[in-house]
């Protein structure tokens, strides 16, 4: 491990990244792209996978402190709950950046994922402001929470009834499917406008499976993330909308900021950048694919 914290410019840096979990597709994509950019530049990137566990994430941060990296990047886990790791990093003079984890003492850079409010807004518009929605939320995840806040904001004051269920991770697809299956059985076709909103694509995919199995085409399903299967479902008209962050752009943003962050060190003022999170509908899909050659919906 090389300690080059005092050198500036385009020197070779050493970066430690704490992933979240493989199920969090967006941040995984950002991290993978960032890693590629950095390694092309000759930096040393080490990643750790805490499998969603806060404690393991803290452990990974402390290991990176021992490794004496120049920058630690954490993701998704609320930064406030990483206090132990942040303190260790601060004591060692290593700045910490976060992807979608929010700010906290010790975070010098926060890449915010916007809540993507366009999705619920589109849903409300599609339903004409009335009907019934099955909302599949996931409270432990910050991005999901923010999206759900946006969702609640959008439905407020409309004639839409919300049935909320909590998705399980792991097993997100199954729980989406199970909840949707029974919900669909309870709400037969033609009763009122029906939609299923999920705070990420996996449970939405599960809902699609349920709808297909029940032979239902009257339900509009919404998700977030723009995973390949979701884009495919969008293309086939099974998904009404998803939202996809510009992961390449976000990775570039983070990459560009890295030397500055290392230069400024731990004392620096916290910066925040927002990753745009535009809605993708079947109409805008082609445009999105053209703009993001990496995205895959075949």
């Amino acid at each position: 491990g090389g300690s080059s914290s005092n050198s500036g410019g385009d020197d070779s840096f050493s970066v430690g990244i704490v992933r979240f979990a493989p199920s969090e597709v967006t941040t995984e994509a950002v991290i993978n792209k960032y890693t590629k950019l950095a390694e092309d530049e000759g930096w040393e990137v080490t990643t750790a996978n805490p499998d969603g566990a806060v404690d393991k994430a803290i452990g990974a941060m402390q290991d990176f402190v021992q490794k004496d990296v120049d920058l630690i990047i954490v993701s998704v886990i609320e930064s406030t709950s990483l206090a132990a790791g942040l303190k260790s990093a601060e004591a060692a003079g290593i700045p910490v950046a976060s992807i979608a984890g929010g700010t906290a003492d010790g975070i010098v850079f926060d890449l915010v994922v916007s809540p993507g409010t366009e999705v619920p807004e589109a849903m409300v518009a599609n339903m004409g402001g009335k009907g019934r929605v099955l909302a599949l939320g996931y409270k432990p995840g910050l991005p999901c929470q923010l999206r759900e806040d946006g969702f609640n904001e959008a439905v407020k004051g409309t004639d839409i009834t919300v049935d909320r269920q909590e998705v399980l991770i792991p097993g997100q697809l199954e729980s989406g499917q199970k909840f949707a299956t029974t919900w669909l059985a309870k709400n037969p076709k033609g009763s009122e406008p029906l939609s299923i909103w999920a705070c990420f694509d996996d449970p939405a995919m599960g809902s699609i499976v349920a709808a297909k199995q029940a032979g239902r085409d009257d339900v509009k399903i919404y998700g977030y993330d723009g995973t390949p299967p979701a884009l495919k479902a969008l293309k086939d008209g099974q998904l009404a909308a998803t939202a996809a962050p510009d992961t390449a752009g976000a990775a570039q943003m983070l990459f560009d900021a890295t030397p500055g962050l290392i230069e400024a060190g731990v004392g620096a003022d916290a910066k925040t950048e927002e990753i745009p999170y535009p809605i993708i509908t079947p109409e805008t899909l082609d445009q999105y694919l053209a703009d993001n050659p990496g995205a895959n919906a075949s």
Binding site: V25, N32, Q165, E166, G171, F179, T181, V209, Q213
Partner: protein, 332 residues
Amino acid sequence: MTSLMENEPTAEVAKSNAHFFEWFGRYGALLVLAALITVTSILAPSTFPTVDNAINILNQSALSAIIAMGLTFVLVTGEFDLSIGNTASLAGVSACALMVSADLSIPMALVAILLVGAVVGLVNGFVVTYMNVSALVATLGVGTIVIGVNYMISDGAPVALGDPDAFLEITFGRFLGIPYPVYIMLAIAALLWWLLNRTVLGQSMQAVGGNRVAAELSGIRVDRVRVIAFVVCSMCAAVTGFLLASRTGSAAVSAGDTYLLSAFAASFFGSAVLRDGQFHILGTLVGVITVSVGFNSIALIGLETYWQYFFQGLLLILGVGVGTLARRRAAA
């Protein structure tokens, strides 16, 4: 009814009591299922007791049932397998990866993942028999390594098919109004039941599970039997993983992991169905279906999600506990 005879009554009463408890011990777990169906039918009369919903429940049970029945094989042999969830994930990931990158056809991919399953089973069997590591440790270790392989193949990201339609058909296709997975489940159940109850292999497995030393001294090739059990189990897990991937035409590294605990729960519940603590295929099937019915009921009645945990936990404890308690009463 009062009997005025002096020398009989206590024994008589005790006896009929014993009979009742014996009956209860045998059918207690089935009673739980019956009660569940009755109650939900009353509470949700228009949505629960319908043919559609029955098919729906069976369909939801299919994947869990396949993996749980495979696990039952290992349990019958007196072993454990903690790697099934990871094997299911691996099967999905490798099926998709093979179809995407090696352009395999669906049947070829199925063959390939059956092989993958068999290999995992062989490794489990090898570590358990040759290295003499307890099955719990061995399969925990092998399972962990399988996760690593998953990551290596997929780099952590979901693997999606470009044109999944044919693949999706496996999950969504229907014959006589019943989805294919239900047929697959029933076919595998029949095959495994036959293997276990109508072949020397199956009888040997039960003997090995009952007393390994006695089985060995009876000439049964214990190690071979154990390895076969692991292989069958892993192959069932692989089938589950394959079907799981065919739901969405894509596979994630940890998609199958949740099946581990549910398969154990179903098998143990099933061991209390009609038997006193022996694992068997029919029981496992009933166990899986009971859990599905329960989940379905909770959702249809519209209880909070956390009720599903209470329900699942209680189901397991009561389904098994009532039986053993009743049997103890019957024996006393």
